[in-house]
Subunit: 238 residues, 2 copies
Amino acid sequence: MTRSLSIIPIGGLPEIRPGDDLAQMIIDACQADPAGLQADDVLVVSQKVVSKAENRLVKVDPDDPLAHKPLVIEESARVLRRRGDLIISETHHGFVCANAGIDRSNVAPDIAALLPEDSDRSARRLRDAITGRLGIRVAIIVADTFGRPWRRGLTDVAIGSAGIMPILDLRGTNDAVGRELHVTEVCLVDELAGAAELVRGKATGIAVAVIRGVDPAWFAEGSVVGEVVRHPSEDLFR
Amino acid sequence: MTRSLSIIPIGGLPEIRPGDDLAQMIIDACQADPAGLQADDVLVVSQKVVSKAENRLVKVDPDDPLAHKPLVIEESARVLRRRGDLIISETHHGFVCANAGIDRSNVAPDIAALLPEDSDRSARRLRDAITGRLGIRVAIIVADTFGRPWRRGLTDVAIGSAGIMPILDLRGTNDAVGRELHVTEVCLVDELAGAAELVRGKATGIAVAVIRGVDPAWFAEGSVVGEVVRHPSEDLFR
């Protein structure tokens, strides 16, 4: 693989409301951009706009910065750690993250946004609608910003995907000196989500990025919850 | 920020040997590529070529797949978990990873490659040499492939950097609806390292990628060990 990738921020998406046809709004925003939308583009879409379109919004007391905490418990399968107001839990999807992925940025002050109920399904619906309407193969990644142990700072990771293999399995292939690569399974969707974050930013309201130039061999079915989420029994740190 | 990023794989780097002038070899490889090397490019360089140039290579029995395990203990400040042959430890730098970052891919069968002794210093030296010789501002990230808890698959992360802020601190800035962003510190260097991995691949021998289009405001001093490595006392999972 020696192709370059382009990571293109797509502006112009209007404020998303529950029930909106997000797929069409993404198509319109892409088509209004000089970059357009092409076959084999990967579209990385922020969790927040997906949650808004799917009405995963809950009213909370705008004056209470901790008003969403009871929701965190409801949205968690189990709490792993607490420190002060911070709750690290495992969500019903299996994601381990702060506050069950619930947050109050880029929404009205009296709203908390929950993660999509089934974020792989959200990605599949967007992919099916965009591919169906435009007749081109695209992949979708729904991305959210998570912390992680050991390392400071947050990165964007995939919480849902459609049309792209979440993990590229290189086991059994050879390295550049002909030695077999043993334990190399690369999490493509997380690297793509993080790459998209670099152009989306947090304060810009840019909810969509197009990644162009991805290896066509990576377009295949697969799901984040099925392939990226590690079962607790395989995890050395739970 | 509404600029696009380009992620450009740089081929043509020769096999690196201890003592090689890696900075010059990277310059030559970049200048032989149509993309060239420009001011404000971020160069992501694989740990393996840095370790080779710095002679962080140890002879091991080529017939024993576990011959590097004693080195893992030597290179670790403490072992966190063991399962079968797998050792997850904290290195002397503070990185938490498998086998103290030691691996045997893309080296001769009788060689194990250790991490650079001071990977931020490695990055600074490359940056100083390239900037000094070409008279342009560039940033360097030294990247390696690490696993992580909770999620399957590996991603590339930064183990050293120079000339770029490792973490972008957005605390105190406002989101797109004017609400203050509270806990948003984005680990730029890890997202950049992961993005570069998407074009470098594992089996291609492409050890360098250029990332072009990065926000000029991100060019600043900082180090991975100083800013990204989380102190064990702050870590909820150690």
